[in-house]
Amino acid sequence: METYDVVVLGAGPAGLAAGLEAAKRGGKTLIIERESRPGGILKQCIHDGFGLIEFKEKLSGPEYAERYIRMVRDKNIPIMTSTFATKVLKDKDKFIITLVNSNKGVFEIESKTMILANGCRERTSKQIFIHGSRPSGVYTAGTAQYFINILGYLPCKKCVILGSGDIGLIMARRLTLEGAKVIGVYEAKTTPSGLTRNIVQCLYDYDIPLYLSRTITRIIGDDRVEGVIINEVDENMKPIKGTEKLVECDGVILSVGLIPENEIAESLGIEIDKFTKGPCVDHNFMTLEDGVFSCGNALHVNDLVDYVTESGRYAGERAVVYAKNNIEKNLVKVNMSVNDFLYVVPQYIDITSNNKKVVLYFRSREIRKNVVVQIKYDNKIVFTRKYRVLRPPEMQRIELDLTELKMSKDKDFCIVMKEGQY
């Protein structure tokens, strides 16, 4: 049986960065990808804006992916494509991973560590409460994107978009450019879910209306979508009776949220954070299962690919360190208030780790203006940053150096948000 130091599941931006870093640091590395091509979802994200942090350039998704694929190939790191991981078992200090592909059938490999970089999935029409029949013409934004950008088919001519997530906004522009009419984007919340700059350059630029506090309550049509019923919703996002409005259309594009993919994590009994829906990790990106790491959108849903890449890089680096040293852990919880934060990643700090650099990612629960975010250790302020505005769609990143801190198990580590003058 082939044995590796690091096996990465997923060859999207997180997995490629993880594999590249692991191999650079001397780990025997293998990347597993279920599709026939590496690159993950970036392959169909043909819009630009990728890589501003990573490459200081405005690239399209395929360009960003190809740069990383090239770097991985130049280092001769194997990527096993069209290969599916069906089972993972822990056997003492290593993992036995069952794989299947058309070349070798079902086979097993061994690895000291495993990096889960298998991304996230879109919520579908089955996961949100919409009445009516099941006509064709209802797509998730990602599926519509695949139809248009990869296959070259226009999935609808006159559509509504439900949800104001970034992919939905980008598809509003894309459908418009391809000659379809986008009647409007309907968002149940009182504020948009996508990045502000996407609201501007995808909706405002093309005069596509954004309707807040409204949702689709019924889809009409038998063979094909013929229309939708739109309702206004109250502050609890419950439809208000008597506000029904019929909108005729032949397509419904759903952009109603992404959820980290965690089938393998769950099969190993790895603790999942109820806020991120991804595994809980320490600041080395290791889950609570020794030797299993998580990064990218499998860990928490990011809004920028640059951060996905960054987390993959850290996970790759730390996986090699773990594979070679098998270190003891001593975890301290990162405490936060759920009234202020939607989530904070990592959820733990490993105080025995020789890695003294902590990168924290967080999202605020609500739109907050003029706030100060502080990190406190043992009731002493060790980090302060002021923000003019914090919005839930815009993830924030904090870098913290632990070198000067005398960490111990019984002291409190917490992140707080409070009013403050910008």
Partner: protein, 125 residues
């Protein structure tokens, strides 16, 4: 005074733009790119355009493309018409020019994926 949201980078600064005599007054920008964006937005707004072009290869029916710079907004839909007429008949590489100097803007439309590589591996499944 006009309020604009800068779309140059993920910061998305809220800019307050005003023309005082012959000079622009711009507030709210975290970097100098915001100034250029605001002036361009107030005089002639420009955008980059991303799309796909048809190919003759059934295993890779579309190839992604983008403008290598920004073009005035009024050219977006005319450019889409040009892009939709293109048909790629030979394998090309990422970065290759598909349409040169569109509408005399100095901007080219370039391929953003490597058809050569795509054809080797077939369509993603």
């Amino acid at each position: 005074m006009k309020e604009l949201i800068c779309i140059v980078c993920p910061n998305g600064c809220l800019l307050k733009v005003e023309k005082l005599n012959e000079n622009w007054s711009i507030k709210g920008n975290l970097c100098s790119k915001g100034i250029d964006f605001a002036i361009s937005e107030m005089t002639e707004a420009k955008r980059s355009v991303c799309s796909t072009v048809k190919t003759v290869f059934p295993e890779v029916p579309r190839l992604p493309v983008r403008t290598d710079g920004e073009i005035p907004k009024k050219f977006i839909f005319p450019l889409m018409k040009l892009i939709n007429k293109v048909e790629i008949k030979a394998p090309i590489h990422s970065g290759d020019i598909i349409l040169k100097n569109v509408f005399d803007t100095g901007v080219n439309v370039i391929a953003t994926s490597d058809l050569f590589e795509l054809l080797k591996e077939g369509i993603y499944d």
